[in-house]
Symmetry: C2
Subunit: 351 residues, 2 copies
């Protein structure tokens, strides 16, 4: 989607991906190689105006390798380091006065026992590194779950994290330019299923300027603290009285895909504008939108396209259970017009 | 732009172009070859679900070659034949009761003299075939201009066409599915400069349902008469009391480029939907739009992107005087918001 946005702007791309089947090959030159292979990194970066990433799992050392060779890497190394380490991420949020779950770093069974005693249950044991889409997590609902949790995850650095009694999950996607200018899209509401994003509503139902301002303080604060250049996302929990930061994604984010049709400027275009030093575009929404992920396989094309306001995105990936292979964004003038379209779409996608 | 729209839909493309520099290479496999080279045609069509074209200069024999080999070619051969021959085009309009300029076929100097006597001046002598963007035309403002016009164009089949005293130029872009379903975008207003489209306003200022209905009768009537499948455009003159058909473009059209951001479904996506037998998407406009062509070279990127609602499209073509190398679409809520943006954009593009 970055490539599609960029080609329209006259840009050209090389992509580094471990898989020769990577869909990005449709919109640029694909370099097949490991993300920590110096030769592959050099090949993909050769002559590029800027190097960026759209996965927080890219090794920070790979970014350092390129920076050492005088390449410009955006959003930057620090954003990768922080988002790859749940402990560092939470520490950053807390250093900025942003509410988070109660967390404890866990490097031993003894530390886990102590954390369970101090923080209680229910709570979640998570790997500090490498988890995404609900992977690398184990929920403790009773103290007796400690054994199973330790058996599942023990041996690598972990954190133990209290459950947040949230009303709903939100996220704020923000673009930040090198000069510190920022532009945030409207706060969105995210519904997950089995730990994977299922539906995003944009703007979040019940959106208010106060909610937007609160979310922007968090999103802009985090990006500024990282001297971030590009588009990033902070996932939030909305409780009865606050917004609680959950995770930082230092990249264009699934909860921002709606912006392709639903905003004046998409997250993909603004990411490219930011990392190229171009002026950011307006992040204002155009009507209301809902994005539904297609997991495992694509839904029936004709059934989706028959729905008013439906915009199909097929990533060209092979089907595989749970894999994000595409998404559909619905646009409408208002929530009343959106509701029946969303119901129809969910009926098609969820079957 | 067809490729960009199609990749998002999970489609893949091969393109046939005489130039190895064709920008389409960024979004598919480029087959370099003449448009009438049977081997190149076979190569590009091999295994394709459907073959389409986005230039009316594609030889109708090439389409026939592919149809003879059992390929599906849309919009179809007849649409090419008619749009390549100004006399056939005008005859089609007239057979459908659609007003046109007064025309006479000219195959000799004597016929030209007779036509000038019958139709008068000012009028335009045009080649029946091969003209576009104002090329292959000679304006006669006085009977004495006959010698110069004949010297410029004589020797090939011509038509002599009366001037239409029009208030403005409009166009109707329509999508037609194989089952006869049609969807028309709002009528747009086109301003030309030196015979080349300069600015399109969508919907046309002063748009009314009656204007839309009149234009759709023409657009849908022409496509239906050709059993057309895909997106086509009829260029119109608006006179004090009627719409007069000027030309048929059997393809996605420059005056429909605004639809990428300005309509629920772009002309590119709907063309692909139509030729693949998928349901057509809504052609409703989203607010108001203005599209400005970039001729010769691209304007300053940052200056364009600093304008609210500006969407830059850089085709990745080398600069050349008069060449369409890109366009910018402005979107806005209403005409009042659009006006200052358009003024700012024209100042950047026209310098």
């Amino acid at each position: 989607m970055l490539g599609l946005a960029g080609i329209a702007q006259g840009l050209s791309f090389r992509f580094l991906d471990p898989s020769p089947e990577a869909p990005a090959a449709a919109v640029g030159t694909l370099v097949t190689g490991a993300l920590d292979d110096p030769a592959a990194l050099d090949e993909v970066a050769q002559g590029a105006a800027v190097v960026t990433y759209e996965w927080e799992g890219v090794p920070a050392d790979s970014a350092s390798h390129l920076v050492a060779k005088a390449h410009t890497v955006a959003p930057g190394i620090r954003a990768l380091e922080v988002s790859q380490d749940r402990a560092a991420e939470k520490a950053l949020f807390q250093s900025l006065g942003i509410p988070t779950a109660t967390v404890a770093n866990i490097d031993s069974r003894a530390e886990l026992d102590a954390a369970v005693a101090a923080i209680g249950v229910p709570a979640v044991l998570k790997t500090r590194r490498g988890g995404y889409d609900g992977k690398g997590q184990h929920v403790l609902r009773a103290p007796a779950d400690v054994d199973a949790a330790w058996a599942a995850l023990g041996g690598v650095p972990l954190i133990y994290e209290s459950f947040v009694a949230f009303r709903r999950e939100l996220s704020i996607v923000a673009a930040r330019a090198a000069d510190g200018t920022t532009a945030c899209w409207p706060v969105v509401e995210n519904a997950h299923r089995d730990g994977i994003l299922h539906v995003t509503r944009a703007p979040a139902p019940g959106w208010t300027p106060a909610l937007q301002a609160a979310a922007e303080r968090i999103g802009v604060g985090v990006l500024a603290a990282l001297d971030f250049v590009g588009v990033g996302c902070v996932e939030l929990f909305q409780t009865d009285d606050a917004l609680v930061a959950n995770e930082l994604a230092p990249r264009v984010h699934n909860s921002g895909h709606w912006s392709i049709e639903g905003a004046q400027t998409s997250q993909f275009e603004n990411h490219l504008r930011a990392i190229l030093g171009r002026p950011l575009g307006s992040t204002a929404s155009r009507g209301v939108s809902a994005m539904v992920n297609c997991l495992g396989s694509m839904p029936d094309t004709d059934a989706v396209l028959a729905i008013e306001g439906a915009h199909l995105h097929d990533y060209g990936k092979a089907s595989r259970p749970g894999r994000k292979v595409g998404h559909v964004t619905l646009t409408a003038e208002n929530d009343a017009a959106l509701a029946p379209r969303l119901a129809a779409l969910l009926a098609v996608i969820d079957g």
